[in-house]
Amino acid sequence: MLSFIYAAGGPATISPPTLIIDIALMAMLVVVAFAIVRMRSLFAIVMLQGVYSLMCAAWFVTLDAVDVAFTEAAVGAGISTVLMLSAMLLTDRQSAPVGAKKSLGPLLVCVLAGAAMFYAIPDMPAYGDANSPANTGPGMEYMTAAVTDVEIPNIVTAVLASYRGYDTMAETVVIFMAGLGVLLLLGLNGNAGFWQAKVQGQNIFSLTAPRTRILTSTEDKPETEPPAPDEAAPPKPKPKRKPAAAKKRAAKKPAAKKTAAKKPAAKKTGGKGSAS
Protein backbone atom coordinates (compact mmCIF):
# COMPACT_ATOMS: atom_id res chain seq x y z
CA MET A 1 0.00 0.00 0.00
CA LEU A 2 2.69 2.46 1.02
CA SER A 3 4.95 1.42 -1.79
CA PHE A 4 2.02 2.23 -4.05
CA ILE A 5 1.93 5.71 -2.54
CA TYR A 6 5.61 6.22 -3.17
CA ALA A 7 5.49 4.72 -6.63
CA ALA A 8 2.31 6.36 -7.86
CA GLY A 9 2.94 8.17 -11.11
CA GLY A 10 6.45 6.99 -11.74
CA PRO A 11 9.32 4.84 -10.62
CA ALA A 12 10.11 5.01 -6.94
CA THR A 13 13.47 6.66 -6.36
CA ILE A 14 13.63 5.79 -2.70
CA SER A 15 15.87 3.06 -1.35
CA PRO A 16 14.34 0.17 0.62
CA PRO A 17 16.11 0.92 3.95
CA THR A 18 14.91 4.50 3.86
CA LEU A 19 11.43 3.27 3.06
CA ILE A 20 11.46 0.99 6.11
CA ILE A 21 12.68 3.81 8.34
CA ASP A 22 10.10 6.22 6.91
CA ILE A 23 7.23 3.83 7.55
CA ALA A 24 8.39 3.09 11.08
CA LEU A 25 8.78 6.78 11.91
CA MET A 26 5.36 7.60 10.50
CA ALA A 27 3.78 4.78 12.50
CA MET A 28 5.36 6.13 15.69
CA LEU A 29 4.17 9.63 14.83
CA VAL A 30 0.61 8.36 14.52
CA VAL A 31 0.90 6.57 17.88
CA VAL A 32 2.18 9.71 19.58
CA ALA A 33 -0.53 11.83 17.98
CA PHE A 34 -3.25 9.51 19.28
CA ALA A 35 -1.64 9.51 22.72
CA ILE A 36 -1.63 13.31 22.76
CA VAL A 37 -5.31 13.38 21.86
CA ARG A 38 -6.22 10.83 24.53
CA MET A 39 -4.16 12.27 27.39
CA ARG A 40 -5.57 14.55 30.04
CA SER A 41 -2.40 15.41 31.94
CA LEU A 42 -0.90 18.53 30.37
CA PHE A 43 2.61 17.69 31.60
CA ALA A 44 2.52 14.45 29.69
CA ILE A 45 1.18 16.24 26.64
CA VAL A 46 4.04 18.75 26.69
CA MET A 47 6.55 15.93 26.89
CA LEU A 48 4.83 14.00 24.13
CA GLN A 49 4.88 17.08 21.95
CA GLY A 50 8.62 17.32 22.45
CA VAL A 51 8.96 13.71 21.38
CA TYR A 52 6.68 14.35 18.42
CA SER A 53 8.89 17.14 17.15
CA LEU A 54 11.99 15.02 17.76
CA MET A 55 10.61 12.32 15.53
CA CYS A 56 9.36 14.86 13.00
CA ALA A 57 12.86 16.24 12.64
CA ALA A 58 14.34 12.76 12.26
CA TRP A 59 11.79 12.07 9.57
CA PHE A 60 12.60 15.35 7.78
CA VAL A 61 16.24 14.32 7.75
CA THR A 62 15.36 11.04 6.09
CA LEU A 63 13.41 13.02 3.50
CA ASP A 64 16.46 15.26 2.87
CA ALA A 65 14.67 18.38 4.09
CA VAL A 66 17.56 19.32 6.32
CA ASP A 67 16.76 22.99 6.84
CA VAL A 68 13.22 22.19 7.92
CA ALA A 69 14.58 19.55 10.26
CA PHE A 70 16.96 22.08 11.74
CA THR A 71 14.15 24.52 12.45
CA GLU A 72 12.00 21.78 13.91
CA ALA A 73 14.88 20.66 16.10
CA ALA A 74 15.67 24.12 17.34
CA VAL A 75 12.12 25.30 17.95
CA GLY A 76 10.17 22.16 18.69
CA ALA A 77 12.47 20.36 21.07
CA GLY A 78 13.95 23.15 23.14
CA ILE A 79 12.17 26.48 23.08
CA SER A 80 8.66 25.20 22.48
CA THR A 81 8.76 22.92 25.54
CA VAL A 82 9.95 25.75 27.75
CA LEU A 83 7.34 28.18 26.45
CA MET A 84 4.57 25.61 26.80
CA LEU A 85 5.56 24.97 30.39
CA SER A 86 5.73 28.65 31.20
CA ALA A 87 2.30 29.16 29.66
CA MET A 88 1.03 26.17 31.64
CA LEU A 89 1.98 27.95 34.85
CA LEU A 90 -0.95 30.26 34.27
CA THR A 91 -3.50 27.54 33.51
CA ASP A 92 -4.57 24.18 34.82
CA ARG A 93 -2.56 20.98 35.08
CA GLN A 94 -5.32 18.83 33.58
CA SER A 95 -7.31 19.49 30.48
CA ALA A 96 -11.06 19.43 30.85
CA PRO A 97 -12.79 16.49 29.21
CA VAL A 98 -14.75 17.33 26.09
CA GLY A 99 -18.20 15.87 25.67
CA ALA A 100 -19.03 13.49 22.84
CA LYS A 101 -21.49 15.92 21.29
CA LYS A 102 -18.94 18.69 21.04
CA SER A 103 -16.40 16.51 19.28
CA LEU A 104 -18.79 15.32 16.58
CA GLY A 105 -18.36 18.37 14.36
CA PRO A 106 -14.52 18.40 14.42
CA LEU A 107 -14.53 14.64 13.85
CA LEU A 108 -16.67 15.09 10.75
CA VAL A 109 -14.35 17.80 9.41
CA CYS A 110 -11.28 15.66 10.07
CA VAL A 111 -12.78 12.61 8.40
CA LEU A 112 -13.81 14.62 5.35
CA ALA A 113 -10.41 16.29 5.03
CA GLY A 114 -8.64 12.96 5.42
CA ALA A 115 -10.87 11.34 2.80
CA ALA A 116 -10.17 14.21 0.41
CA MET A 117 -6.44 13.75 0.94
CA PHE A 118 -6.64 10.04 0.25
CA TYR A 119 -8.65 10.81 -2.86
CA ALA A 120 -5.87 13.15 -4.02
CA ILE A 121 -3.01 10.74 -3.39
CA PRO A 122 -2.99 9.05 -6.83
CA ASP A 123 -2.56 12.45 -8.48
CA MET A 124 0.58 13.19 -6.51
CA PRO A 125 3.90 13.00 -8.31
CA ALA A 126 6.22 10.24 -7.24
CA TYR A 127 8.70 10.92 -4.49
CA GLY A 128 11.71 12.59 -6.03
CA ASP A 129 10.15 12.77 -9.48
CA ALA A 130 12.21 15.14 -11.62
CA ASN A 131 9.23 15.99 -13.81
CA SER A 132 6.88 17.04 -11.06
CA PRO A 133 5.56 20.62 -11.20
CA ALA A 134 7.50 21.54 -8.08
CA ASN A 135 10.76 20.58 -9.73
CA THR A 136 10.18 22.01 -13.19
CA GLY A 137 8.74 25.48 -12.55
CA PRO A 138 10.39 28.41 -10.82
CA GLY A 139 12.06 26.00 -8.39
CA MET A 140 14.22 24.60 -11.18
CA GLU A 141 15.02 28.10 -12.41
CA TYR A 142 16.23 29.11 -8.98
CA MET A 143 18.32 25.97 -8.67
CA THR A 144 20.04 26.46 -12.00
CA ALA A 145 20.46 30.20 -11.61
CA ALA A 146 21.74 30.14 -8.02
CA VAL A 147 24.85 28.23 -9.05
CA THR A 148 26.10 31.22 -11.07
CA ASP A 149 24.19 34.07 -9.42
CA VAL A 150 24.94 33.49 -5.77
CA GLU A 151 27.53 30.72 -5.73
CA ILE A 152 26.69 29.29 -2.35
CA PRO A 153 26.20 25.56 -1.86
CA ASN A 154 23.02 25.78 0.17
CA ILE A 155 20.32 26.69 -2.33
CA VAL A 156 17.78 27.12 0.48
CA THR A 157 19.69 30.05 1.91
CA ALA A 158 20.09 31.59 -1.51
CA VAL A 159 16.38 31.37 -2.24
CA LEU A 160 15.43 32.51 1.24
CA ALA A 161 17.66 35.53 1.52
CA SER A 162 18.30 36.60 -2.03
CA TYR A 163 15.57 35.55 -4.44
CA ARG A 164 12.80 35.80 -1.89
CA GLY A 165 14.15 38.63 0.22
CA TYR A 166 10.80 40.38 0.42
CA ASP A 167 9.17 37.24 1.82
CA THR A 168 11.82 36.83 4.46
CA MET A 169 11.62 40.47 5.44
CA ALA A 170 7.89 40.14 5.91
CA GLU A 171 8.46 37.01 8.02
CA THR A 172 10.91 38.89 10.18
CA VAL A 173 8.40 41.67 10.60
CA VAL A 174 5.78 39.09 11.57
CA ILE A 175 8.07 37.73 14.29
CA PHE A 176 8.80 41.27 15.41
CA MET A 177 5.07 41.99 15.64
CA ALA A 178 4.52 38.84 17.67
CA GLY A 179 7.13 40.03 20.12
CA LEU A 180 5.62 43.48 20.13
CA GLY A 181 2.20 42.04 20.93
CA VAL A 182 3.61 40.07 23.83
CA LEU A 183 5.36 43.17 25.11
CA LEU A 184 2.21 45.26 24.91
CA LEU A 185 -0.02 42.66 26.53
CA LEU A 186 2.20 41.15 29.20
CA GLY A 187 5.13 43.52 29.57
CA LEU A 188 8.73 42.48 29.61
CA ASN A 189 9.98 43.51 32.98
CA GLY A 190 6.80 43.65 34.94
CA ASN A 191 5.34 46.70 33.29
CA ALA A 192 2.08 45.36 34.53
CA GLY A 193 3.44 45.69 38.04
CA PHE A 194 2.20 43.62 40.90
CA TRP A 195 -1.18 42.25 40.08
CA GLN A 196 -3.47 39.70 41.58
CA ALA A 197 -6.65 38.15 40.29
CA LYS A 198 -8.93 35.25 40.80
CA VAL A 199 -9.35 33.02 37.77
CA GLN A 200 -11.69 30.07 38.11
CA GLY A 201 -11.36 30.10 41.84
CA GLN A 202 -7.57 30.14 41.75
CA ASN A 203 -5.54 33.02 43.07
CA ILE A 204 -2.96 34.22 40.60
CA PHE A 205 -0.44 36.93 41.20
CA SER A 206 2.72 38.05 39.51
CA LEU A 207 6.18 38.42 40.89
CA THR A 208 8.41 40.53 38.75
CA ALA A 209 12.04 41.43 38.76
CA PRO A 210 13.38 43.15 41.87
CA ARG A 211 14.35 46.33 40.14
CA THR A 212 10.77 47.20 39.33
CA ARG A 213 8.93 45.22 41.99
CA ILE A 214 8.30 47.67 44.77
CA LEU A 215 6.38 45.81 47.38
CA THR A 216 6.42 48.62 49.92
CA SER A 217 4.74 51.13 47.67
CA THR A 218 2.25 48.78 46.03
CA GLU A 219 1.24 46.74 49.01
CA ASP A 220 -2.21 48.26 48.98
CA LYS A 221 -2.73 47.30 45.35
CA PRO A 222 -4.17 43.79 45.86
CA GLU A 223 -6.86 45.11 48.17
CA THR A 224 -7.90 47.95 45.89
CA GLU A 225 -7.95 45.72 42.84
CA PRO A 226 -11.53 44.81 41.97
CA PRO A 227 -12.33 41.12 41.65
CA ALA A 228 -12.13 39.76 38.13
CA PRO A 229 -15.48 40.47 36.48
CA ASP A 230 -15.52 37.45 34.20
CA GLU A 231 -14.36 34.06 35.30
CA ALA A 232 -13.17 33.03 31.88
CA ALA A 233 -11.38 36.29 31.12
CA PRO A 234 -7.66 36.22 31.81
CA PRO A 235 -6.34 38.93 34.10
CA LYS A 236 -5.36 41.88 31.99
CA PRO A 237 -2.80 44.44 32.99
CA LYS A 238 -4.43 47.83 33.08
CA PRO A 239 -3.13 50.02 30.28
CA LYS A 240 -3.49 53.10 32.44
CA ARG A 241 -0.83 52.04 34.87
CA LYS A 242 1.86 51.51 32.32
CA PRO A 243 2.88 55.10 31.66
CA ALA A 244 2.67 55.83 35.34
CA ALA A 245 4.94 52.94 36.15
CA ALA A 246 7.40 53.98 33.47
CA LYS A 247 7.40 57.54 34.74
CA LYS A 248 7.93 56.54 38.31
CA ARG A 249 10.62 54.03 37.63
CA ALA A 250 13.46 56.51 37.89
CA ALA A 251 12.13 57.87 41.14
CA LYS A 252 11.54 54.45 42.62
CA LYS A 253 14.89 52.90 41.94
CA PRO A 254 16.37 53.82 45.32
CA ALA A 255 13.36 52.34 47.04
CA ALA A 256 13.81 49.11 45.12
CA LYS A 257 17.42 48.95 46.16
CA LYS A 258 16.42 49.44 49.77
CA THR A 259 13.99 46.56 49.69
CA ALA A 260 16.55 44.38 48.00
CA ALA A 261 19.08 45.15 50.68
CA LYS A 262 16.61 44.21 53.36
CA LYS A 263 16.15 40.74 51.94
CA PRO A 264 17.96 37.78 53.46
CA ALA A 265 21.46 37.43 52.21
CA ALA A 266 21.03 33.93 50.84
CA LYS A 267 19.12 34.92 47.75
CA LYS A 268 21.10 38.02 47.04
CA THR A 269 24.45 36.31 47.05
CA GLY A 270 23.06 33.52 44.93
CA GLY A 271 22.05 35.98 42.25
CA LYS A 272 25.29 37.90 42.47
CA GLY A 273 27.49 34.84 42.39
CA SER A 274 25.82 33.40 39.35
CA ALA A 275 25.84 36.68 37.51
CA SER A 276 29.54 37.28 37.86
Partner: protein, 141 residues
Protein backbone atom coordinates in the same frame (compact mmCIF):
# COMPACT_ATOMS: atom_id res chain seq x y z
CA UNK B 1 46.42 -4.85 -6.65
CA UNK B 2 47.12 -8.34 -5.48
CA UNK B 3 48.30 -9.44 -8.90
CA UNK B 4 50.73 -6.53 -9.14
CA UNK B 5 52.21 -7.29 -5.79
CA UNK B 6 53.04 -10.89 -6.69
CA UNK B 7 55.14 -9.71 -9.61
CA UNK B 8 56.81 -6.72 -8.04
CA UNK B 9 57.61 -8.27 -4.68
CA UNK B 10 58.73 -11.86 -5.20
CA UNK B 11 60.65 -11.83 -1.92
CA UNK B 12 57.40 -11.87 -0.05
CA UNK B 13 56.16 -15.43 -0.27
CA UNK B 14 52.75 -14.83 1.26
CA UNK B 15 51.15 -11.88 -0.41
CA UNK B 16 48.96 -9.93 1.95
CA UNK B 17 46.66 -7.27 0.45
CA UNK B 18 47.26 -4.70 3.16
CA UNK B 19 44.72 -2.23 1.87
CA UNK B 20 41.90 -4.72 2.02
CA UNK B 21 43.07 -5.99 5.41
CA UNK B 22 43.06 -2.46 6.78
CA UNK B 23 39.68 -1.71 5.27
CA UNK B 24 38.11 -4.88 6.57
CA UNK B 25 39.81 -4.53 9.93
CA UNK B 26 38.42 -1.05 10.39
CA UNK B 27 35.03 -2.19 9.14
CA UNK B 28 34.96 -5.12 11.56
CA UNK B 29 36.16 -2.98 14.45
CA UNK B 30 33.51 -0.36 13.87
CA UNK B 31 30.92 -3.08 13.32
CA UNK B 32 31.80 -4.58 16.68
CA UNK B 33 31.58 -1.19 18.37
CA UNK B 34 28.30 -0.28 16.70
CA UNK B 35 26.69 -3.65 17.40
CA UNK B 36 27.75 -3.66 21.05
CA UNK B 37 26.60 -0.07 21.41
CA UNK B 38 23.26 -0.89 19.84
CA UNK B 39 22.87 -3.83 22.22
CA UNK B 40 23.59 -1.54 25.18
CA UNK B 41 21.10 1.04 23.98
CA UNK B 42 18.48 -1.60 23.37
CA UNK B 43 19.08 -3.11 26.79
CA UNK B 44 18.60 0.34 28.31
CA UNK B 45 15.32 0.79 26.48
CA UNK B 46 14.18 -2.65 27.59
CA UNK B 47 15.18 -1.82 31.15
CA UNK B 48 13.17 1.38 31.08
CA UNK B 49 10.20 -0.64 29.92
CA UNK B 50 10.50 -3.64 32.23
CA UNK B 51 12.06 -2.51 35.51
CA UNK B 52 9.74 -2.34 38.51
CA UNK B 53 10.18 1.18 39.86
CA UNK B 54 11.45 4.55 38.80
CA UNK B 55 14.97 4.42 40.21
CA UNK B 56 15.82 1.08 38.67
CA UNK B 57 14.50 2.33 35.36
CA UNK B 58 16.68 5.39 35.66
CA UNK B 59 19.67 3.22 36.38
CA UNK B 60 19.05 1.13 33.28
CA UNK B 61 18.56 4.12 31.02
CA UNK B 62 21.31 6.32 32.38
CA UNK B 63 24.11 3.79 32.40
CA UNK B 64 23.43 2.07 29.13
CA UNK B 65 22.61 5.22 27.20
CA UNK B 66 25.96 6.80 27.93
CA UNK B 67 27.95 3.66 27.23
CA UNK B 68 25.98 2.62 24.17
CA UNK B 69 26.00 6.08 22.67
CA UNK B 70 29.75 6.45 23.09
CA UNK B 71 30.34 3.02 21.56
CA UNK B 72 28.21 3.78 18.53
CA UNK B 73 29.78 7.19 18.01
CA UNK B 74 33.27 5.70 18.36
CA UNK B 75 32.40 3.12 15.74
CA UNK B 76 31.15 5.83 13.40
CA UNK B 77 34.27 7.92 14.02
CA UNK B 78 36.46 5.03 12.88
CA UNK B 79 34.61 5.05 9.59
CA UNK B 80 34.54 8.80 9.07
CA UNK B 81 38.33 9.06 8.98
CA UNK B 82 40.16 12.35 9.43
CA UNK B 83 37.52 14.77 8.31
CA UNK B 84 35.12 17.42 9.50
CA UNK B 85 32.62 14.64 10.11
CA UNK B 86 34.84 13.12 12.78
CA UNK B 87 35.07 16.45 14.55
CA UNK B 88 31.32 16.79 14.54
CA UNK B 89 30.83 13.24 15.78
CA UNK B 90 33.36 13.99 18.51
CA UNK B 91 31.29 17.03 19.47
CA UNK B 92 28.13 14.94 19.60
CA UNK B 93 29.89 12.39 21.78
CA UNK B 94 31.25 15.10 24.04
CA UNK B 95 27.88 16.80 24.48
CA UNK B 96 26.10 13.52 25.11
CA UNK B 97 28.78 12.58 27.61
CA UNK B 98 28.17 15.84 29.46
CA UNK B 99 24.43 16.26 29.22
CA UNK B 100 23.12 12.72 29.55
CA UNK B 101 24.47 11.97 33.06
CA UNK B 102 23.62 15.50 34.19
CA UNK B 103 20.04 15.14 33.04
CA UNK B 104 19.77 11.75 34.71
CA UNK B 105 21.17 13.22 37.92
CA UNK B 106 18.66 16.06 37.77
CA UNK B 107 15.77 13.64 37.24
CA UNK B 108 16.89 11.50 40.17
CA UNK B 109 17.34 14.56 42.38
CA UNK B 110 13.93 15.95 41.54
CA UNK B 111 12.22 12.60 42.06
CA UNK B 112 13.92 11.93 45.40
CA UNK B 113 13.35 15.43 46.75
CA UNK B 114 9.71 15.38 45.77
CA UNK B 115 9.18 12.28 47.88
CA UNK B 116 9.26 9.42 45.41
CA UNK B 117 10.57 6.52 47.49
CA UNK B 118 12.64 3.76 45.95
CA UNK B 119 11.24 0.26 46.26
CA UNK B 120 13.40 -1.60 48.74
CA UNK B 121 13.52 -5.29 49.42
CA UNK B 122 12.84 -8.14 47.05
CA UNK B 123 10.47 -7.40 44.25
CA UNK B 124 6.97 -8.61 44.75
CA UNK B 125 4.60 -8.74 41.86
CA UNK B 126 1.48 -6.71 42.62
CA UNK B 127 -1.66 -8.64 43.36
CA UNK B 128 -4.39 -8.71 40.77
CA UNK B 129 -6.73 -6.80 43.06
CA UNK B 130 -4.17 -4.02 43.51
CA UNK B 131 -3.76 -3.63 39.77
CA UNK B 132 -7.49 -3.40 39.23
CA UNK B 133 -7.90 -0.87 41.98
CA UNK B 134 -5.38 1.57 40.57
CA UNK B 135 -5.57 3.66 37.44
CA UNK B 136 -1.97 3.84 36.31
CA UNK B 137 -2.62 5.82 33.14
CA UNK B 138 -2.42 9.26 34.76
CA UNK B 139 0.42 10.81 36.64
CA UNK B 140 0.64 9.68 40.23
CA UNK B 141 2.22 12.90 41.28
Amino acid sequence: MAADNTHSAPANPVDIPWDAVLEWGLALASTGLIVSGAIFVLAGALGVLRMPDFFTRMHAAGMTDTLGAEFILLGLMLQAGFSQMTLKLLLVAFFLFLTSPTATHAIANAALKSGLKPQLGPYKAPELSEIEGKTPSEGAH
